[in-house]
Every structure is written in C-alpha cells, then in structure tokens.
C-alpha cells in the first residue's frame, strides 16, 4: 500500500515520517522515530503500557492509526519534562516500580490526572490508572507515589 507522509510534533520537535495506512501510532513511535518508552503489551488497549499524550489527552497508541496523528501533538514519557518531575522522583524514591514495563504508561496517566486535579482523592487516582496494568507491585506504592506527588505540589 502507498505510504503516506505525515507530520506531527513529538515532545516539542516537529517530525516528518512516512507510514503505511495500517501502521499504528505505537509502531510509528517505536520503529520510525525511536521513541521507545511506549511499550507493546496487550496490543488491544487493555494494559495501558503504550499510553502517550495525544493533543493533551492520554490515548492507547496501539489503538490509534499513525496517519491519525498527522498534525497532532504527541508527548511520550521522554517529553514530559527535562528534569525528572516531582511525580517521577516520588516513584523512584518509593520503589513504586519493579520490572518497570508499566512505568511509562502509568507516569503518563498519572501526569494527565495531576494536570486536571491538583489534589485527587485515592479513588480518583485508582480510577485514573485503572487501565494501566502492573503485575509486580500490587499498585499500593504506585498510588502512594501519586498521592505524595499531589501533596508535595510541583
């Protein structure tokens, strides 16, 4: 199938790539522009490890066609801030991740939550990361890290 040239802003930098219509955004990010933080887990929108920000809202990049990103602004974990954010520091300090496979997705989902709510309740935190599966931690340190980041401010 004929390739399509698309252009999007990735972590603040304008990028141009050629994609197949059937390429997902996740494939384009990982294989064409080298953004390796979004991972391929379930590849059907259930696990959340491919989460990226698409025009300010988190999406499952495995469920978005790359061509849909033409003209969009995409932020991956690499682009959320130059220095580790308060949230990322809390995650590191509390050993909130073990294998780390879910980490990029959870940080993206939690960052979106904290952008909308300065002081989310525990329930709101749980709801915000309900679509991000972690098989190591049992979630408790993750929820605590997000709570701590919210209470500590930016």
């Amino acid at each position: 199938m004929k390739k399509i040239a698309i252009e999007f802003k990735l972590n603040g930098t304008q990028r141009q790539v050629e994609v197949e219509p059937s390429d997902t955004l996740l494939e384009a990010l990982r294989e064409r522009v080298g953004a390796k933080s979004p991972k391929c887990g379930c590849d059907r929108g259930d696990c959340g490890t491919c989460t990226v920000s698409f025009n300010g809202k988190t999406v499952r990049s495995c469920l978005v066609l790359a061509v849909e990103a033409d003209g969009a602004e995409i932020v991956t974990l690499e682009g959320i801030s130059k220095e580790p954010s308060k949230l990322q520091k809390e995650f590191a300090q509390r050993n909130a991740f073990q294998c780390g496979f879910c980490a990029p997705g959870i940080v993206m989902s939690a960052t979106e939550l904290l952008g909308k709510k300065k002081k989310p309740t525990r329930e709101e935190i749980q709801e915000a990361i309900a679509g991000n599966l972690c098989r190591c931690t049992g979630y408790t340190p993750i929820v605590e890290a997000i709570e701590a980041a919210a209470n500590g401010g930016k």
């Binding site: 219509p21 059937s22 997902t24 929108g45 959340g48 066609l65 849909e68 979106e112 749980q126 679509g131």
Partner: protein, 294 residues
C-alpha cells in the same frame, strides 16, 4: 499483533464526501477506533477503505434544545463525563460513561461508535434505552431517525444499512422529575466489560423504566417489569415480584466472564439495588449520581 489488512485511509472534510466514500462496499467508518483497530488486528474486519470522520465539521459537540440533547457522532466518553449538561440533564448517561473501559480509552472512544459496535455488554445502551434515545442516520439520499429500541438487531449487528453513517445520538429530556441509576457488575472494580448491566429510571408518579445489557444478544428494555411496577409505590414486596420476572426478560449465556446462572442471579440482585437507588435519588435522599448505592 500488527494490522495485516491493506486499506486506503481517507479523512473527508464534508459529509457528502464521506457518504461518497462510504458507497464503496469495502469501506468502514473510523471514529475513536478503539473497537475497530482491535477487530482489524484480530482479522474480524478487513476494510479496503477506512473513512475517518473526525475531520467533518459538525460531527462533534453537543446541541441542547428545550426538549433534547443532540450528541454528535464524534463525542467521546470523556467529553460526556466532562459535560455539565450531561451530568445535570442526563445523569445516567454520565454515570454509565464513567464505567466504560479506562480513561485512555474513554479519551478516544465515542458514544456513537459504542452503539455501532453493538457488543452485548455495551454500557451506554441501557441508559439510551430508558431515555428513549434516537439515532440520527445519514444515508446517500436522506436522513432517518431510528429509535434506540429498534437499533440493536443482533450481536454486533445494528439497523445501520450499507452506505449509511451515524451523525448523532439524540436524547429527549425527561419533563418529569427523575431519579436514575446504572448498576454494572464487573469481575473487579476498574476496567472490565459488564457481566450484567442494569439501568433504572424512576420518574415522578411512579413511572419506571428498566433496561439490561450483557444478558442477551442485544440490550433490551424490560417491559414486563415496567408494566408490573407502573403506578405503584416501590416497597420490598413489589421488588420481590419484579425480581421474579427477570428470567422472562433476559437470556444470559455462559462465557469466559461468568455463567448464565450467576448472571441471572445477579441481574435480580442488581435490579433490586437499582430500583432502590433510583427511587432514593428521585426522592432526593441520595446524590443524583455516584458509586455508593443505597
């Protein structure tokens, strides 16, 4: 799993352009894509042409009139949840939208797409059924309006004809004072498909509307239960009678998520909870929406 089918991608800017593309037999509409991409990966859909409708002006957003709320085909579940109008005027739609998948999926998935996918467990259907919603469909020649009660024709099947496009879902606003409740049973809290979903709308003067999802090939209104309840004050004896009618209203199956016996049992339990919560909300004894049932 990569998408293996080959297709052309189009993002028309106008409705006539989209309708022209949709005359192609191998065409497929793309809105949120959260079902379509999974189905393409699994080989359940292999379109030749994908028509992305998100570039068409007028397909997004809400239009509120005195009698109805029109929800454009590209409105996502996150937009429904963030809408004050939806929360105040159609609290059950707000409540059920919050139970759909996860934030990242809701940021993309649309209400219109949900009813076009028409899987039996779709969370939006019971609310749309009790609200007597209407699906606005644009075909090559004319626009037609299909009541939601006639929309679902089978598992993943709808009244949509080839070449047609859903342009909006229109929900009439209830004139009477109302209390509502959507009760969803998942295997755990958080992201899961419904094993059973029950919607109860209690209106002033003891009018009740009840609908189920995930317990039959299509989501349905429970007309026998509604007839039993109609005009009567809700009490424990009446609830017990309503629960007796549940097996006549639904036809659950056994699948990976639960057995039919469990679904049938829980449909009764959830109907009772939904009736109590909706009536408490109507009486002002409970918050209009929220997770804590009475």
């Amino acid at each position: 799993m990569p998408i293996t089918c080959e297709f052309e991608y189009h993002k028309p800017k106008t409705l006539p352009e989209a309708l022209k593309l949709l005359t192609d037999k191998g065409s497929c509409v793309l809105a949120g894509g959260t079902d379509l991409l999974v189905w393409m990966k699994e080989g359940l859909r292999a379109p030749k042409t994908v028509v992305d409708i998100k570039g068409i002006a007028g397909m997004g957003g809400f239009t509120l009139s005195a009698s109805a709320l029109r929800i454009g085909a590209c409105v996502t579940f996150s937009e429904l949840i963030e809408s004050d109008v939806v929360r105040k005027k159609l609290p059950m739609l707000w409540e059920c939208s919050r139970t759909v998948a996860s934030v990242g999926v809701r940021n993309r998935a649309t209400l219109a797409g949900n009813i076009c996918s028409a899987v039996p467990s779709l969370d939006s259907a019971p609310a749309l059924l009790v609200y007597d919603a209407v699906v606005e469909v644009r075909g090559p020649k004319a626009t037609r309006k299909v009541p939601v009660a006639e929309w679902f024709t089978g598992v993943k099947r709808t009244a949509l004809k080839p070449g047609e496009l859903v342009t909006a879902v229109i929900i009439p606003l209830t004139k009477k004072k109302a209390g509502s409740c959507y009760v969803k049973l998942g295997r755990y809290r958080g992201e899961d498909l419904a094993q059973v979903g029950v919607a109860v709308l209690a209106l002033a003067d003891n009018e009740y509307r009840v609908a189920f999802c995930a317990v039959g090939p299509v989501p349905t209104r429970a007309k026998k239960i509604e007839a039993l309840l109609s005009g009567k004050e809700l009490d424990d004896a009446l609830i017990a009678q309503a629960k007796e009618l549940v097996p006549q209203e639904i036809s659950p199956i056994t699948d990976i998520r639960s057995s039919k016996e469990y679904r049938l049992h829980m449909a009764r339990v959830m109907l009772a909870r939904g009736l109590k919560a909706a009536c408490a909300r109507l009486a002002g004894d409970a918050p209009a929406t929220g997770d804590n049932l009475v």
